[in-house]
């Protein structure tokens, strides 16, 4: 059924709340967004270094296997048996020469091709599959993949932009920045947030909230709106990056700027042990905060010395998992690895500067359920065309997200900005 969205404005500065709650719309998103002409973040190459290594992941709410075949090539395919629809791979990761569905032992090669059916020719001339059953054609749907500096992206689309064009110069530049040398996986964290997946995607594009909701940022000067920084987007405004530069404001400037802002205090306390915040710029650009978010499901994140990726995994219309992979570099000293782990206190489900997002999203989801036609207000940073900004008192990139979302869903506002 065709959807109709009353945007009220052509610049996506109003978004009706039913878009976060509608089951039918959610089903269409899984088709048109996640299986549409986009490059989804799947996993990191460093997670599957050896032939036979595999990881299970999600594209929207579709289970996907990413595996390295015997010849070293990387493949991704839908984790659903061609026979009766059972999940083929049940572990989160491992190493296997091939993948066998437990139900009737149908067997798949490392690239997801159906290669074996028990009793295919029957037994003693009886039973078996019809002779014309085409195993190759029946194989699980494969994704096209792209490996950008060790970041694996995948798409269901037969044809779409190249990943280089999709991410744009700024996106590719950020991938190269984070993955400029071999990495070492430090581990994972998972968080299940009772809110629509788009609330998380918006949160990543909302630089306005960062220094207000996450008061730890401000109190200890990890990230304040008074620092030099801004938001960058690709030409289509579907991806964005919140970023800030180390030590580019003073305590006095910050104190003046945040004076009188309800509930935010700079000098409320001192850390007894401040090693958590020790930061020596390790990138040439000297940014201490960089969070490029890639439509629809990916994020790279640096907060001081904590480095990671995040993947948004929708779990029905009212929930999503945030799956985070932390990493360091292969040449990190033991002291640096320890410092990255100490810095991990800042991020993830228990992160001192990230835990609040889970709560903020859940209370939006709760309060908007019966407000279908009413709309959220997105005007911080201005109305009209979406542009890069050299400040962060803005939520403009959220409008960029909605503009591209509307394009893919076929519901653009009349004359809507792009």
């Amino acid at each position: 059924m065709a959807l109709a969205v009353d945007w009220q404005r052509d610049d996506y500065s109003r978004v009706p709340y039913w878009l976060y709650h509608d089951e039918e719309l959610y089903a269409q998103e899984m088709e048109r967004i996640f299986r549409g002409p986009v490059w989804n973040y799947l996993c990191l190459e460093a997670e599957i270094p050896q032939p036979g290594d595999f990881r299970t992941t999600w594209v929207g709410d579709t289970p996907v296997v990413v595996s390295r075949a015997k010849d070293g090539t990387i493949h991704a395919f839908v984790n659903r048996c061609a026979h009766r629809g059972a999940m083929i791979v049940r572990k989160t990761h491992g190493n296997a020469p091939d993948h066998v569905c437990i139900y009737h032992r149908w067997c798949y090669s490392g690239d997801g091709t159906l290669v074996g059916i028990p009793f295919r020719k029957g037994l003693k001339g009886e039973g078996g599959m019809p002779a014309d059953f085409d195993m190759k054609a029946a194989s699980p749907r494969k994704l096209r993949i792209a490996n950008c500096c060790g970041v694996i992206f995948g798409t269901f689309a037969e044809t779409c932009e190249t990943v280089e064009d999709y991410l744009g110069a700024f996106g590719m530049g950020m991938v190269k920045r984070f993955f400029h040398k071999p990495i070492k996986i430090l581990g994972y964290s998972r968080q299940l947030i009772a809110g629509n997946w788009k609330l998380y995607a918006e949160n990543l594009r909302d630089t306005y909230h960062a220094s207000l909701l996450h008061e730890f940022f401000v109190t200890y000067g990890v990230d304040r709106a008074t620092q030099k920084g801004g938001v960058k987007m690709d030409a289509r405004h579907r991806h964005n990056m919140n970023h800030a530069y180390t030590a580019t404001d003073t305590q006095e400037e910050a104190r003046a700027a945040y004076a009188g802002q309800q509930g935010v205090a700079l000098d409320r306390m001192q850390l007894k042990d401040s090693k958590l915040l020790q930061h020596v710029p390790e990138f040439a650009d000297r940014m201490n905060l960089a969070a490029p978010a890639f439509f629809p499901n990916g994020l790279l994140i640096q907060i001081n010395h904590s480095l990671g990726t995040r993947q948004i995994r929708p779990k029905g219309v009212g929930a999503h998992e945030v799956f985070q992979t932390l990493f360091g570099y292969a040449d990190d000293t033991p002291e640096m690895t320890r410092h990255r782990l100490i810095s991990a206190n800042l991020v993830g489900p228990a992160g001192l500067v990230s835990m609040e997002d889970g709560e903020a999203i859940e209370i939006v989801q709760k309060a908007t359920k019966r407000e279908g036609a009413a709309a959220t207000v997105i005007e911080m940073g201005g109305r009209g065309p979406v542009k890069d900004l050299a400040h962060r008192v803005t939520e403009t990139p959220i409008r960029g997200f909605w503009s591209y979302w509307a394009e893919l869903m076929g519901v653009e506002a009349p004359g809507g900005i792009r």
């Binding site: 989160t92 990761h93 996986i185 430090l186 581990g187 994972y188 964290s189 998972r190 968080q191 299940l192 947030i193 009772a194 909701l213 008061e215 730890f216 109190t219 205090a265 409320r268 306390m269 850390l271 007894k272 042990d273 958590l276 998992e321 932390l326 690895t337 782990l341 100490i342 991990a344 206190n345 993830g348 489900p349 228990a350 001192l352 835990m355 609040e356 997002d357 889970g358 709560e359 903020a360 859940e362």
Partner: protein, 170 residues
């Protein structure tokens, strides 16, 4: 299936009655102080040179070092509690710990090592309860004059998929 080091006793040993009692009291206080929102008193159960870590079983089984929380001394631990009190926002709730009996593993560096299972429930302010986390504690405590003090706590959470967020300690 499991890469978690086996918890078999290091060698045959006896656990004195006094130690069992002190550790039992410690575990009871540990859970109830958090549940009563006396987080500063909970911090006081630790030695000055202490370590508190929350990790997930998914990482431990893969030999991956990632932490959800890691305070490697008492100052960091009390910083975190101060931050909960004054800086962070999180879901408003009450905690309820159910902690199983300790299994003693032996003595090391003057401290008793033991582990115990836990279940942690959260109840929101309208009274709806949910299972928040299950897992086990791997702990070490020194015992003197009938009282035990925590030297290290490693929370290995089976519940790696954290519901909502993790603020108040496990």
């Amino acid at each position: 299936m499991s890469a978690v080091p086996p918890a078999a006793p290091l060698a045959a040993f006896d656990v004195p009655r006094e130690v069992r009692d002190a550790v039992g009291d410690l575990l009871a206080a540990y859970g109830l102080l958090i549940d009563e929102d006396k987080l500063e008193d909970w911090v006081a159960l630790f030695d000055d040179a202490c370590d508190y870590k929350v990790v997930t079983r998914e990482n431990v089984e893969q030999g991956l070092p990632n932490v959800l929380i890691w305070c490697d001394n008492k100052d960091m631990l009390s910083d975190r509690v101060h931050s909960y009190r004054h800086v962070n926002e999180y879901n408003l709730h009450w905690d309820r710990h159910v902690i199983g009996p300790p299994r003693f593993l032996g003595q090391q560096d003057g401290a008793w090592r033991f582990e115990a299972s836990y279940a942690l429930f959260q109840t929101d302010l309208e009274g709806a309860s949910r299972l928040f986390s299950v897992g086990r504690y791997r702990m070490a405590a020194s015992v003197a004059s009938g009282a035990a003090r925590l030297r290290s706590v490693e929370v290995v959470a089976d519940t790696g998929l954290v519901p909502s967020l993790l603020a108040t300690p496990i």
